[in-house]
């Protein structure tokens, strides 16, 4: 069978382009199939959607040639303050503070807006040899033939490759067409996402307040006077808040946000995302692999979704590139299972870990509340333990794929 590409990637969000660039750099031929028309996304204006990139993710972006285009468009996270809070009562007596000065790697992470990150990917993909970006096309059928995989696009175009990769999110069509079932847990919570403008400079500090109804994250954006908000509430409360006009929304946010940054105003579009945890029963099949949310959708506490996705990207790229260099059949199940073994434990552990953190903090029981205030205070008092948490959050622990250590494969 003649192949149009070695790897067919379905999904042009962020993981798909990252994987495509990494594989093309490693000498494989790649097609990235994106349902959205590219120019529309590339010209997007400020809408407040942003990601907290862990250091390991930044290294991956640097290794695949995307980080340079983000120069001057990212906000280093210099400090993280986590605290237990209740609307209108101010912060609890114990704070958990993470300071970039304690990590030898420099800043603890970077905030980058979706529109800038995607534009940087687009630019890199357009000049990557061996990578074809197919925009504005959806997949209507896929087939695993003995000597490769075939996908049929809505336009009737048929693509043949050796491996099909689903980077198509938690409602992955690639997984569904392959008959891979998923397990899911709802939280009964919805994340409200927007951006605010504030009077005082955030000085690169990120805040995470653990409220009884769910966490509120305030993440610093470039320029010093904008922050991204990820605010979780029970489904009904979130729907009611989202239905308010901008003035009413701001009134609801203000007591939770506090006044430490002075006067605040809304600065971005308002989005809602229902919070749930989903896990695919398998990450691979012969000739097929799932990456990012298609494999494991996590609660967006601490913004780990994209960072986990980039870990998948680094691991799968390394497995496939090394297998191709050995002359192995890259679509063979035992090759793809190396990726699954590498990533499954890590992503399951993190998904369940964040689930329990959220359950512990989303509770107004006074005993639990006292306990976690004390817990945060103790962690804060022990620099070694705190650095461990920081390195975990920065994505610097576990067996790192080479790209996430900033090395070429």
């Amino acid at each position: 069978m003649e192949h149009d590409a070695d790897i067919l990637i379905v999904g042009g969000g962020l993981n798909g382009p990252a994987l495509g660039l990494a594989l093309a750099q490693g000498g494989l031929r790649v097609a990235v199939i994106d349902a959205r028309p590219a120019p529309q996304r590339a010209e997007a204006g400020f809408d407040g959607r942003a990601y907290a990139l862990a250091i390991a993710s930044k290294r991956l972006l640097a290794a695949i040639g995307v980080w340079g285009a983000l120069d001057g468009k990212v906000q280093p996270i210099l400090k993280i303050k986590a605290s237990d809070g209740r609307p209108g009562q101010g912060p609890a007596p114990f704070f958990l503070t993470f300071d970039a000065g304690e990590l030898e790697e420099g800043p603890m992470g970077y905030m980058v807006e979706d529109r800038h990150l995607y534009a940087a990917f687009l630019e890199a993909m357009r000049s990557a040899p061996g990578l074809e970006l197919i925009s504005g096309e959806t997949v209507v059928a896929q087939d695993g033939a003995p000597q490769g995989v075939t996908v049929t696009l809505a336009s009737g175009r048929v693509l043949r490759g050796r491996v099909l990769v689903g980077c198509d999110g938690r409602a992955s069509g690639v997984a569904e067409r392959a008959g891979i079932k998923r397990q899911g847990w709802g939280y009964g919570q919805t994340a409200l996402v927007t951006a605010v403008r504030h009077e005082r400079n955030h000085e690169g500090t990120a805040h995470q307040y653990f409220m009884p109804s769910g966490p509120l994250a305030i993440l610093p954006l470039p320029g010093g006077h904008h922050s991204s908000i990820v605010w979780s509430e029970a489904d009904a409360a979130a729907a009611a808040i989202q239905a308010l006009d901008d003035a009413g929304y701001l009134e609801a946010l203000r007591p939770r946000f506090g006044d430490f940054l002075g006067e605040i105003s809304l600065a971005g579009a308002r989005f809602t995302y229902p919070l749930n945890l989903t896990l695919a029963e398998a990450f691979v099949r012969p000739g097929l692999a799932l990456v990012g949310d298609a494999a494991h959708g996590v609660h967006p506490i601490a913004g780990q979704g994209l960072n986990l996705g980039f870990r998948d990207v680094g691991a799968l790229a390394e497995v496939l590139i090394l297998a191709a260099r050995r002359g192995e059949e890259i679509g063979a199940l035992d090759v793809l299972q190396r990726y699954e073994r590498w990533r499954r434990f890590d992503s399951t552990a993190l998904a369940l870990g964040m689930d329990s953190v959220n359950r512990l903090f989303s509770n107004d029981n006074p005993i639990l509340r006292a306990g976690r205030d004390l817990g945060l205070g103790i962690v804060n008092a022990l620099p070694g333990l705190r650095r461990g948490f920081m390195r975990q959050a920065a994505g610097l622990q576990g067996e790192l794929p080479k790209l996430l250590a900033g090395q070429a494969i």
Binding site: G27, Q147, R325, G327
Partner: protein
């Protein structure tokens, strides 16, 4: 010469090929070790013949002989990298199995029922001879390695792997792999025929080749993976030699 397969036998050979290539089947230990062996083989060939492994078909133009090819676990990767491959096996039952699988993989490989000595007698010569986990099974290692030398073009490369002979290799390869894990049928290996790296280097030199590199292959039971090691040649190891 290619063996012609009787069409009525194809289904049987397909089933046997599926068995050979099942990573969790009868040949699981070979499948587990294969990426590590291939890492060594590809890096040595790329270094010797100045090939870039990132480019497509880096081994184009190289003639490679795989001795004891079995189901084609090494022959197929070499063909996929662009080499012109001859797979030789003394066991006649393996050849149609390897042929059926190569066809399924869309690869052209010249599989033959023959031995190194018989093939050498025909005057055939290769750029690379793969001699993996064979030398510990032959009756006369020196005669066998001499045939391997004859099969190489001047300047050609031989990759030879085997098992070291010491108490640890007895525990790992015989007690561990055959008795405890049952990865291999009892009696697969005769520990007395295992060869130390010094003995192998000596045999290779006496056969008229220059040994140029040796590395250990070490199984990590935690990561469940084999990897190459500069230091630990205590059980499995692999060598590279060049024809003077």
């Amino acid at each position: 010469m290619t063996t012609t397969i009787d069409p009525t036998e194809v289904a049987k050979f397909e089933a046997m090929a599926a068995e050979w290539w099942d990573p969790n089947g009868k040949f699981k230990p070979l499948h587990l070790m294969n990426p590590c062996r291939l890492d060594y083989i590809t890096m040595q060939i790329a270094a010797e013949y100045d090939r870039n492994l990132v480019a497509p078909h880096p081994f184009e133009g190289l003639r490679i002989l795989d001795i004891g090819c079995g189901g084609g676990l090494l022959s197929e990767p070499m063909a996929r990298l662009g080499a012109d491959v001859v797979g030789a096996d003394a066991a006649a039952r393996n050849i149609p199995v390897a042929q059926v699988h190569a066809e399924q993989s869309g690869l052209k490989i010249d599989y033959r029922v023959t031995t190194a000595e018989d093939l050498a007698a025909t005057g055939a010569q290769f750029d690379v001879v793969l001699n993996m986990e064979v030398v510990e099974h032959v009756a006369d290692p020196l005669a066998y390695l001499t045939a391997c030398r004859q099969l190489l073009k001047p300047g050609g490369l031989m990759i030879c792997s085997t098992l070291n002979r010491n108490p640890k290799s007895f525990m790992m390869a015989i007690v561990g792999a055959e008795w405890v894990m049952r990865w291999l049928p009892k009696g697969t290996h005769d520990w007395a025929k295992f060869i130390t790296p010094e003995e192998l280097y000596d045999l290779i030199r006496r056969a008229g080749l220059d040994p140029v590199d040796k590395q250990g292959m070490v199984f990590n039971p935690v990561s469940w993976r084999w990897s190459l090691s500069d230091r630990d040649l205590s059980v499995n190891y692999v060598t590279a030699s060049v024809k003077r």
